[in-house]
Structures are given as structure tokens and as C-alpha cells.
Amino acid sequence: MDVPPFSKENVSLVKPRFYDSVSRNKKGCLFLGDNSVWWMRMSTRKVEIMVGLFVTLAIAAMIVLAFKVADISATGSGETYELKAKFDNIGGLKHRSAVKVGGVVIGRVSSIILDPEDYLPVVTLTLELKYSNFSETSSVSILTSGLLGEQYIGFSPGFIDETVDILQAGDYIEDTKSALVLEELIGQFLFSVGNDG
């Protein structure tokens, strides 16, 4: 194979960053050895700039994760208060499931425990403080988004007049509707069909 003669033109094909290290070589002639150590000659300044860019990139990524992916602006950042509700059956409700009023998320489920006396699940809802004016007659039900989607708590605010109080932090919501469990529904349906026939 023919090796092209060494000349200025060939040299100009060399990558600029490598060329940089070549020109810093004070031997007077161009040095075209291995460039595996080109970064060792890189000035401290350039290294600092690259490291700065790297760290900035990482911070930008962290910001994307915090606001775009985990969205801390919508959850947990503002002030909150808690309400409780006792259900017969919570179905597939989970920690951090949404609490919605007319489709708008106003809070999340912050804990689910079993009442040790009557063995019914007690769900704690953490709601945003700006939605705090709900009356005692409000009701909550466990709903499913779509046929197989996730379960959430649908919150319907009750009427407000002089005869009813406003729910305070820590109060129980009395009016609750449990989750619909598909197997039970089918069972009931079959049972009623069987009775009819």
C-alpha cells in the first residue's frame, strides 16, 4: 500500500484538537506520534470549562427529572392537610393514588391502614390546603379510570349551609363508596340471573 508523502496538506486532515497538541510541541517540527495523551497537554483552562459543562449538564438533567418527570411543583411542595375515610373495600387503591374532584387532582393517598377494631381499611388523604372548604356532607368513592386503568378516589363536595360543618384536618369523611370489585359484580350478576331463571 502506498503511504502518501508527508506534507502540510496531509497534516491539515488531522483533527483540530490533535493539531492543537502538535502545535504546542516546541520541538520545532511537527510531531505526529500517538495522540492518546492529547488531553494531558490540554490546558487547565479547557479542562475546567469541560468539567463545568459536564456539571451543568448534570444539573440540567436533575432539573428535568425533578420538574418534568417527578413534577415536584404539583405534589408535596405546597402546604397540605389530611382527611380520613373508612371504606369496606379499597380494591386496587394504592399509596400515592390520586384524589380528584371533577377530574382535577387535589391531593393523594398518603397512607392505607387497617383499623385494628373493626378490620376496615382507613385511607388517609393528603389534600392541598387551598382546597380546604369541604363540608361534612362530602362523599368519596373509589373509581377506576377506564376499564383496566388505575384506581383513584373521586371526591364529591357536599352542599354548604348553616346546618353543616366544614371538614377539619383529621376528620373522617362519613359518606364513602367502596371500590367495585369485578369478581363480586360478576358473582352478583350470575346470582341474580340464577334467581330469575
Partner: protein, 260 residues
């Protein structure tokens, strides 16, 4: 015969224990041996460049492709159940909790860990570490410490960048290409991903992996047999042992973090 075998097993065990001891002493020297802020910081910055900035390309490219593949595969499964809107949380959670830290760790072991081992091993074999000792400069402080801290600093950052780019890659495939609704992609992801439970736990994983990978790399280099094949063996050992350690530790950490 059996006695011989027992003897060699015993010797092997003692060798291992001795190795762990030496590695711990080295780690100790590195942890508490920062020369001084004024002298140490430029070394630290240069090592961040070598360990972190130079790993950036491979991390970003892999992150992008892994996110895109996740979205593509996830879509084909989820679309059968009409649940393709859950693609966002699927891509996000698998990247943040597992793939981000683990794949970054594996790539880091291959890209930066092996380079660290080879570099330190060669410095040893060419008596550079010895001559530093003779100049009354502790190589643990001058050579090992800045590399250790740089590794520890860079890997979580790389993992964060990896996950973020992966999620953007998933968005690219899911929303731009397969036509999922963009609003749903983000909002469902937001409702599922928790900053502390998912993002921070992933970062903690990558910090643990960073300690293990950097530690193994530096120890293998510092303890390499100072010959060509000694160094090549040390480099292989680094990649194999660091990768296994990452996978094993990942299981343990996952059990602790996500199995409530």
C-alpha cells in the same frame, strides 16, 4: 491429598481476607488523604475530566438508545391492553430505578474503571509510584485519592444524565413516532414517579455503585503484578468483579428500597 486441598483452600481464603484488608487500608488512605484543598482541587477537577467528561459520550448514546428500545418494546406489549398511555411511567420508572444506575455502573466499569486500573498498574510497573514515595509524596494521596473522589462524584451525575436522556429517547419514540398523546405521557409519568422514592433512590444506588467500582478499579491497579500480563489480568478482573458487584448489590438495594 485431602489435606493438601484443605491447605490450599485455607491459603486461598486467607489470601482473600488479606486482599480485603489491603483494599480497605487503601480505601482508608484515599478517603482521608486529601492533600489540601488548594493542591487537591485541580487534581480532582482533572480526574473528573478523565473519568466523567470522557465517559459522557458513551453514557449519552447508550441512554438514548436504551430509552428508545424500552419505549418500542413497552409499546408493543401495552398497546394490546389499550394501556399505551402507561408507556411514560414504564420507561421512566425502569430507567430511574434500575437501568440508569445499573447500566451506567456497567459502562463506567468498562470505560473508566478499566482505564483507572491500567493507568495505576502501569504507574506501578514503571516505578512511578515508587519514585513518588521516595520523593516523600504519598501516592495514596496524590494519585489514588483524587481518582477515587472523582469517580464517586461523576457516577451519580452520569446516571442522572443517562436516565434523563433515556426518558427523552422514550418520549421521542413513544410520542413523536408511535403517536401516544404527549400530555398523557408526561402527566401519567408525573403521577407515578416520586422524587424521593424513585429519583433519589436511584441516585443512592449509583453512589453505592460508584464507591464499589472505583474502589475495585483502584485497588486492582494498585495491587497489580507489575508486568504486561499482570496489568491485563488486573484490568479484566476490574471489569468482571465490578460488574458482578454491581448486579449483586443492585438486587440487595432493590430489596431494601422498593419491596415494601
Amino acid at each position: 491429598m485431602i489435606l493438601n486441598m484443605l491447605q490450599s483452600i485455607g491459603a486461598g481464603v486467607f489470601d482473600r481476607i488479606g486482599g480485603v484488608g489491603r483494599a480497605s487500608i487503601m480505601l482508608f488512605g484515599a478517603l482521608f488523604g486529601i492533600p489540601s484543598i488548594r493542591k487537591g482541587f485541580p487534581l480532582f477537577v482533572r480526574q473528573i475530566y478523565v473519568v466523567g467528561v470522557q465517559s459522557l459520550t458513551i453514557i449519552m448514546v447508550s441512554g438514548l438508545f436504551i430509552g428508545m428500545v424500552l419505549a418500542l418494546q413497552g409499546y408493543t406489549v401495552l398497546v394490546d391492553y389499550g394501556a399505551e398511555d402507561s408507556l411514560g411511567p414504564m420507561v421512566g420508572l425502569s430507567l430511574l430505578r434500575e437501568l440508569g444506575p445499573v447500566v451506567t455502573g456497567l459502562l463506567f466499569a468498562g470505560r473508566a474503571g478499566s482505564a483507572l486500573t491500567a493507568e495505576i498498574g502501569l504507574m506501578k510497573s514503571t516505578e512511578q509510584l515508587s519514585s513518588m514515595e521516595m520523593m516523600a509524596i504519598d501516592p495514596l494521596r496524590r494519585v489514588i485519592a483524587p481518582r477515587f473522589w472523582a469517580g464517586l462524584f461523576c457516577m451519580p451525575l452520569l446516571a442522572i444524565i443517562f436516565s434523563t436522556i433515556g426518558i427523552l429517547g422514550g418520549h421521542l419514540v413513544g410520542v413523536e413516532w408511535l403517536g401516544i398523546d404527549g400530555g398523557n405521557f408526561w402527566s401519567i409519568m408525573q403521577s407515578k414517579v416520586d422524587l424521593v422514592d424513585d429519583v433519589f433512590n436511584g441516585v443512592i444506588k449509583s453512589i453505592v455503585f460508584a464507591i464499589v467500582v472505583t474502589w475495585i478499579s483502584l485497588y486492582k491497579g494498585y495491587n497489580a503484578v507489575p508486568t504486561a500480563d499482570g496489568i491485563s489480568k488486573a484490568t479484566t478482573d476490574t471489569v468482571v468483579q465490578a460488574s458482578l458487584a454491581i448486579l449483586g448489590l443492585d438486587f440487595v438495594l432493590t430489596v431494601f428500597m422498593f419491596s415494601s
